[in-house]
């Protein structure tokens, strides 16, 4: 297993201009961004900076996190963590879910924590032996559904929602479940043609996860895809783009949007956008953290895991990051909320044959050339 020795140069905060110079084989995962947070207690040195840390020594002792969460959401958490642990520097690398998987599963890159919204890939990491176990009072306090093997720990619960533009729904009833949504789209083709957005599950891991869970949960899913396909639904890579287009009025509705992002954006500056939690069922995605088997700073990693799973005890920090912490009461209050179950079931849709079959069905339903 080759270990990538990283040297990263970076142009802008969220730019994709990282070059990884591996000492071993040529192929390496692509990071989107990297930011170094020196330990607040460390002797005066470089302030929080982007890119590679000034002193390689400091980077050597830092807690190395690879994550799919962008800095908007995660920077408050890192700073909150450092406020409690001023001796720990954090080296935060952002990558897509698939690149994260590639880094740890295929390339054996050295990270102390892997944080991802792709529950299936995190499960596969643990199943295939790339995660190490950890138990503490904090992790034991998690509900049973929010951890697996003491290797995968959920720290957020994010429902997949329907968002719609209120103006597009002027005069018609807002659908409450998938059956009503199907009926509505069938009855008003003119109003919705070309104005429906959903994930392109061929490129979005999150979209694929939601689609497969939908198909498992409801017969209506395939009919919905059929209808959306006929109405020339537009396909997106990311929740953010869909929310933007709904806010702009370009889309009447977007299906399976990550509720946490939606509420964060809407709270900022998108009047006229409405979030709907369908009442037949709501898939709840869990953002999870694992400690890779090759982690170097295990103690710091343990502290960060404890910090993340107890996010619910710091409501204002959770609010600042826009990440809804694990809260069993929320789920119990709404029976339709179904957290996606961690465990080997998630491996099924990662199966190459299964994926090919699913994408074939999905494409034939939705992309009707």
């Amino acid at each position: 297993m080759h270990r990538a020795c990283l040297a990263i140069c970076l142009n802008a905060v969220l730019a994709v201009a990282c070059v990884l110079a591996g000492t071993g084989a040529g192929a390496a995962f692509e990071a989107e961004a990297r930011k170094f947070y020196p330990a607040p207690n460390a002797p005066p040195g470089a302030p929080a900076q982007t890119g590679a840390p000034a002193a390689p020594d400091a980077a050597g002792r830092a807690l190395r996190i690879i994550s799919t969460a962008d800095l908007d959401a995660f920077e408050p958490i890192i700073l909150g963590f450092q406020a409690e642990n001023p001796d720990i520097a954090v080296d935060y690398t952002i990558a897509s879910t698939s690149q994260l998987m590639r880094a740890i599963h295929d390339e054996g890159a050295v990270f102390d924590l892997a944080i991802s919204s792709a529950m299936d890939l995190q499960t596969k990491l643990a199943n295939d032996g790339f995660a190490q176990a950890y138990r503490s009072g904090a992790t034991d306090a998690l509900p049973q559904w929010a951890r697996w093997r003491n290797q995968v720990f959920a720290f957020t619960q994010e429902p997949a929602v329907l968002i719609l533009s209120e103006s597009a729904f002027a005069g018609i009833a807002i659908p409450r479940n998938r059956e009503e949504l199907i009926a509505l789209l069938r009855d008003n083709p003119a109003r919705f043609r070309g104005r429906i957005g959903t994930y392109d599950v061929r490129v979005s891991g999150f979209g694929y996860l939601m689609a497969t869970q939908d198909s498992r949960n409801a017969e209506a899913y395939w009919r919905l895809m059929e209808v959306m396909g006929r109405l020339e639904a537009r396909l997106y890579c990311c929740s953010g783009d869909m929310i933007r287009d709904v806010a702009d009025g370009r889309l009447a509705l977007a299906y399976n949007v990550l509720g946490s992002y939606a509420s964060a954006r809407i709270a900022e500056n998108a009047p006229g956008v409405r979030i709907v939690q369908l009442n037949d069922f709501v898939n709840v995605m869990l953002r999870t953290v694992t400690i890779p088997a090759g982690a170097r700073h295990v103690d710091s990693a343990h502290k960060m895991v404890d910090f993340l799973v107890t996010l619910g005890q710091r409501p204002e920090l959770a609010a600042r990051s826009g990440l809804p912490p694990i809260d069993d009461r929320v789920l119990r209050a709404n029976n339709a909320m179904r957290p996606i179950r961690l465990g080997p079931g998630l491996l099924v849709y990662l199966d190459s044959q299964k994926r090919r079959n699913f994408l074939r069905s999905w494409t034939s339903s939705l992309v009707q050339e």
């Binding site: 199943n127 295939d128 032996g129 498992r216 465990g343 080997p344 079931g345 099924v348 849709y349 044959q353």
Partner: protein
């Protein structure tokens, strides 16, 4: 010599039946507990493994059922339940591999796959190490496709054994708890069993110790079969003892008779002859002879008395004795002997009857010997006072004292005097055997009392007292 000897055990205990029984029962219980534990653990392990095997087989079967033959090749639409069912009970890692015609169709292509024989298309189970954990794997062979040459597809599903280990650990800990509990209960029951098994022995011991010392009748308590030989032996022994004691007593009585009678005859003859003789030197010789005869008679009598006392003190009969009457009778019988020396015996008896539990013959014997001494060591024409009274300062005790006006003890060591054949230095020319006080002392002690030897005060002389417990 004491009648209470059987209160302190003379035998040193060597081992204990109860302990032995208890230890053996305990050993059996321990072995059974251990066997129980091992069996439960083994069975638990088997059951857990069988459960896991069933789920693995169900998973592999559901995968095999989803295999299709389309467009000339095998395809698989992996059912969600095939893997999710493996995650329902525990959080074990799951691996699978589907091989069609020697080519991995999907799954973990490094998962070792047993080559199931086509002739026996049963699921093949195996246990091996994979990706750092021990896994249990099943492999299923399924022909897919129509026509004469279906494709052989091997479906393997593997799962780590964490959950199974947890189940058997739980069952093992329950088995341990039950085993320990069983052992504790067995220990308590063993204690009870050992005690109750030996209770007939305790009962018999009690019935033997409760007996009077002279009670040599055979034991009649019902004994368990195992103890019957012992009881028979004991009864046989007691019968022999009874016979032997009876024979000894008969012998002593017989001996006394055979010795005394000829001596009495001899003395009478000597006296008759004495009267007929006239020459002083002849009379002198004959007087000597009569004296010697008297001495022999007394010594023989005392020795026989002593033998009798020794024999009887081991089994003092506890009949009710009127001590005042006994004293009066004995003194009356002694009066003629005392009269020969012009000695008067004065008795001072309390008005009320004095009763005690004891052996009449022994008490008579003791008093006789003390009186005999008093007469022996008193000068002629003196008085012997026999007094029966309550012992001062000791309730339920009586003092029977014989005080004379003789030579007393000269303040010598009085303890010596009760020793067998020991005589005082004050005896002078008076002959004796040194047994009189020994007999009196033994009788007093056999009755739970003692002999009190002191100077007679006021006045000169000796005072010998038997202090006895009264009824």
């Amino acid at each position: 010599m004491s009648g209470r000897r059987n209160e302190t055990s003379a035998t040193t205990a060597r081992g204990s039946i109860r302990r032995q029984l208890f230890v053996q029962l305990l050993a059996v219980a321990a072995i059974l507990s251990l066997a129980f534990f091992l069996i439960v653990r083994e069975v638990a392990g088997r059951v857990a493994e069988a459960t896991q095997d069933d789920i693995l087989a169900a998973s592999a079967t559901s995968i095999a059922d989803s295999l299709r033959f389309e467009g000339g090749e095998v395809t698989l639409d992996l059912p969600y339940s095939a893997l999710s069912m493996l995650g329902t009970i525990n959080e074990d890692r799951v691996f699978y591999r589907i091989v069609a015609d020697g080519r991995t169709l999907t799954g973990y292509d490094d998962l070792p796959q047993a080559r199931p024989s086509a002739t026996a298309p049963r699921p093949q189970f195996a246990t091996f190490d994979y990706r750092g954990d021990r896994v249990r794997a099943v492999t299923l062979l399924r022909p897919v496709g129509s026509g004469s040459t279906p494709v052989q597809v091997a479906v393997s599903v593997a799962q780590t054994r964490l959950g199974m280990a947890a189940i058997s650990a739980r069952i093992t800990s329950i088995a341990t708890a039950i085993g320990v509990g069983f052992f504790v209960v067995a220990t308590a029951l063993s204690l009870l069993a050992a005690r109750s098994a030996l209770s007939p022995l305790a009962r018999m011991t009690l019935s033997v110790t409760r007996r009077g010392p002279a009670d040599l009748r055979p034991l009649r308590t019902a004994a368990p079969r195992e103890l019957v030989p012992f009881v028979d032996a004991l009864n046989g022994f007691m019968a022999r003892l009874r016979t032997a004691l009876g024979q000894s007593e008969d012998f002593i009585t017989e001996a006394a008779h055979r010795v005394r009678t000829p001596l009495a005859t001899l003395r009478a003859q000597a006296e008759v002859t004495y009267r007929k003789l006239e020459r002083p030197e002849h009379r002198q010789a004959l007087r000597e002879m009569i004296r010697a005869i008297d001495e022999s008679a007394r010594s023989a009598g005392q020795m026989l008395d002593h033998a009798m006392v020794t024999l009887r003190t081991d089994s003092v009969a506890h009949e009710t004795v009127r001590l005042d009457e006994l004293v009066r009778e004995t003194c009356d019988r002694f009066a003629p002997t005392a009269g020969l020396k012009d000695i008067e015996i004065v008795t001072e008896l309390p008005p009320a009857p004095v009763v005690l539990a004891g052996d009449r013959i022994l008490l008579q014997n003791a008093l006789h010997n003390v009186l005999d001494n008093a007469v022996k060591y008193s000068p002629a024409d003196s008085t012997i006072t026999v007094r029966l009274s309550a012992e001062p300062g000791a309730p339920r005790r009586v003092r029977l004292s014989v005080a004379d006006q003789g030579r007393g003890f000269d303040g010598r060591d009085l303890k010596q005097l009760t020793r067998r054949f020991s005589r005082g230095s004050n005896v002078g020319d008076i002959v004796g055997s040194g047994l009189g006080l020994t007999i009196a002392d033994e009788v007093a002690r056999a009755h739970g009392g003692h002999l009190d030897i002191s100077e007679n005060s006021p006045g000169a002389g000796a005072c010998i007292a038997l202090v006895l417990p009264s009824a």
